[in-house]
């Protein structure tokens, strides 16, 4: 039996390497396909490879996994050190395997024995044993739009199973009551959160997932909040509440450069340092803070954090800026909580903007588009200076309706027939930025097309000159 499994693993490695080579030739590298093929041939292979890791760090949670993983990988990869990472949100078994195969020799031995891996919540319990993580980073627990039915309960059960080994250090978001409830009572927990001084006083509106105490079911009260369910919560019934985090963050701005100020408390002494924050949006500050907490726990010195962050390149479609006239910014939206944090970042942008929503309904996007109605579009359209709205993707009309019912006059909403038309959006003279908010399957096509907006402009101006 052992023998057969070993043979299958070898075949899987050979075949998947061949697939990866073909993909490289055809210019389609970076997909999970080699991993998918290898998993089919040898379901055990991923576990064989994971078991060889000396140090494994897993990043999981509903939103922010990909960006946090990239940040952490950048912080850990000091000059001589090499860490394996899975990029682009390939966080299911086949994605993990595809990443592991890139550093495996033909006999299935890993050349790199340290890894930072983004893992889907449902995949975590499947690999927790073989990966035997030194550290698990839990970003947040929110409602995803996929299979909405009773989902939060299910997600929490999956996470509990994935974290059942008490020796694993959990790095968790203290501001999220669902995260904190999962962290409570563990042997080794590192908490991060934002400074209560920057919280908005009062109780957040429309909180659903963190509204009730996981310990006793009573309604939580908030002294203040950051966004969504993140804040200074307390249960009046059983006493469960936010505890002071070990890593407390706040965002400061100096000469236009945004910084994450961190206060780290360990053994009753506290140190302070600041880290450059490349991405806009409070949710990205949370992602960096999570990565800093994890990196510090793994022994990265505070004075090396900034050179680490300098290596960071944002994952595709996370407030990705494309030059042009005006410039365009691509952002992934995939569930109400994530979309709300992106919209909040847009509200912070004082520039006059046009906004395009690209909504697809493939499996990876979520086939049910009900979630669009859970996004706080009303607040957004009432606050932001937006001249025109565009809707693209297979569910463009659903999004257009959503905007119309949020109070946008219908004549200001344009439904685009095809995703390609996004490149042709001609913003009026006073528009300074085009934001393109996209679901998962439209993200890569848009990232390919948006640079052409620049080309289009250039071509037009060249014609004028000629």
């Amino acid at each position: 039996m052992q023998m057969i499994q070993a043979i299958r693993a070898s075949i899987a490695i050979v075949v998947s390497r061949w697939v990866a080579t073909v993909l490289r030739w055809t210019g389609r590298a970076g997909t999970s396909l080699p991993g998918l093929v290898a998993t089919r041939i040898s379901p055990q292979l991923v576990h064989r490879l994971l078991r060889q890791l000396d140090t494994c760090v897993l990043v999981t949670g509903t939103n922010g996994k990909t960006t946090t993983t990239e940040y952490l990988h950048a912080l850990l990869s000091q000059d001589a050190d090499r860490w394996l990472v899975n990029r682009g949100g390939a966080n299911l078994l086949q994605g993990l395997l595809a990443a592991l195969l890139t550093v495996s020799d033909a006999r299935g031995r890993l050349r790199i024995r340290r890894a930072v891996l983004e893992v889907d919540e449902a995949t975590l319990p499947l690999i927790a044993q073989s990966a035997h993580p030194r550290l698990v980073v839990l970003t947040n627990v929110m409602r995803d739009q996929l299979d909405r039915y009773g989902e939060i309960d299910q997600t929490l059960a999956l996470l509990n199973r994935g974290l059942s080994d008490p020796s694993v250090t959990l790095v968790a978001n203290a501001d999220d009551p669902l995260c904190a409830a999962l962290a409570e009572g563990r042997m080794d927990t590192v908490l991060y959160g934002f400074s209560s001084e920057v919280a908005t006083p009062g109780c957040p509106d429309g909180v659903r997932d963190g509204a009730f105490c996981l310990k006793c079911g009573a309604e939580l009260t908030y002294a203040g909040y950051f966004y969504g369910q993140f804040g200074m919560y307390e249960c009046g019934h059983c006493g469960f509440g936010r505890v002071e985090p070990h890593f407390t963050g706040r965002v400061s701005s100096c000469d236009g450069f945004r910084q994450l100020e961190v206060e780290e408390v360990a053994r009753r002494t506290s140190i302070q340092y600041s880290v450059a924050l490349g991405l806009s949006g409070l949710y990205n500050a949370y992602n960096l803070l999570a990565a800093v907490a994890a990196a510090r726990t793994l022994g990265v010195a505070p004075d090396r954090l900034n050179e680490g962050v300098a290596r960071f390149s944002p994952p595709i479609g996370r407030m990705q800026v494309f030059p042009g006239d005006p410039e365009s910014v691509l952002a992934l939206i995939k569930n109400p909580a994530g979309a709300n944090s992106v919209l909040r970042a847009l509200i912070q942008d004082p520039r006059e903007m046009a906004v395009c929503f690209a909504i697809n309904d493939q499996d990876a996007d979520g086939r049910d588009v009900s979630w669009l109605w859970d996004v706080d579009v009303e607040d957004f359209v009432a606050t932001v200076t937006c001249q025109r709205f565009y809707c693209a993707g297979t569910r463009a009309a659903d999004m257009a309706l959503r905007l119309a019912y949020a109070g946008v006059p219908r004549e200001r909403v344009t439904v685009l027939a095809a995703l390609d038309d996004v490149t042709g959006i001609a913003c009026g003279g006073q528009v300074q930025v085009l934001y393109v908010l996209s679901t998962y399957t439209a993200l890569h096509p848009l990232a390919e097309r948006l640079p052409r907006r620049l080309g289009l402009r250039r071509m037009v101006s060249e014609e004028v000159h000629a």
Binding site: G150, R367, D368, S370, W373, D374, L401
Partner: protein, 255 residues
């Protein structure tokens, strides 16, 4: 004179799994554009429910845990709700709310979780991991929709529901009440029960107007509603029909 109706949104803090506020936004705006003021009153857990104040009840769906809490709360009003329905009180019940209106929900082991018993509808849990999920299109012949004789949306339910009333429509594509008898939803007096969300009303403006008219009549107002420009609504409606390979003509879908 402005016509006014009042809608009770039952337990919004628990029953909002499928974006019911979308349904409410549609009722309010379609009302306002015809000079019908639609007031929505959220009825939260522990609030008294004065059924006589309302012209329409909206009952959404939640997770199993949330729905059990709601069932316990609503039992106090079961008789009132049943009496209201017999007097043509309009109700829109979606997903879990639809099941809740019925006699019981039967678990795989035969245990029956009692519902409100307001209508003679029963639901049985389907086989594990065999939820009925996907885009759905059904026929529509209840209102004055002229060239629109379909209702579209998304369904996602484990329960199989059975009854002998009129269906909301016949299943064209999708599963409907139980995946077996070709019926989707229920229409009984002023009650519309359905598994269709998405939410239901934005892409189905004819159903929204049907409910508004029922509520206006219930309150004793004239029920005339002017036509609106529903270009976007029918575009979104047509997207689902096209995705389901259903051809439409001038007279709507040929069924």
């Amino acid at each position: 004179m402005t016509r006014a109706i009042k809608v009770a949104h039952l337990f919004p803090e628990l029953l909002n799994l499928y974006a019911d506020q979308g349904n409410l936004a549609v009722l309010c705006q379609r009302g306002a554009r015809r000079d019908v003021s639609v007031e929505v009153v959220p009825v939260r857990l522990g609030d008294p429910l004065q059924l006589g104040d309302f012209d329409l009840l909206l009952l959404g769906g939640g997770s199993d845990r949330e729905q059990a809490v709601v069932a316990r709360e609503l039992f106090r009003y079961a008789d009132d709700i049943k009496a209201g329905i017999e007097l043509e009180l309009p109700v829109l019940a979606v997903c879990g709310g639809y099941q809740l209106l019925g006699q019981y929900y039967e678990l795989p082991d035969g245990t029956r979780i009692p519902g409100l018993g307001a209508v003679d509808v029963v639901t049985k849990a389907g086989p594990a991991n065999q939820r009925l999920i996907g885009n759905v299109a059904i026929t529509w012949d209840h209102g004055s929709a002229r060239d629109h004789n379909t209702v579209v949306g998304f369904e996602n339910h484990g329960g199989r529901t059975f009854h002998d009333y009129n269906a909301l429509g016949k299943v064209i594509r999708g599963h409907g009440n139980n995946g077996v008898d070709g019926k989707e939803g229920i229409v009984y007096k002023g009650v519309i029960g359905t598994y269709i969300h998405g939410p239901l009303l934005p892409k189905n403006p004819h159903v929204a107007d049907f409910l508004l008219q029922r509520a206006l009549r219930y309150r004793g107002h004239p029920d005339h509603l002017d036509d609106l420009d529903d270009g976007l609504e029918w575009l979104a409606h047509g997207t689902v029909l096209r995705m389901l390979s259903i051809k439409t003509g001038d007279q709507g879908v040929t069924i």
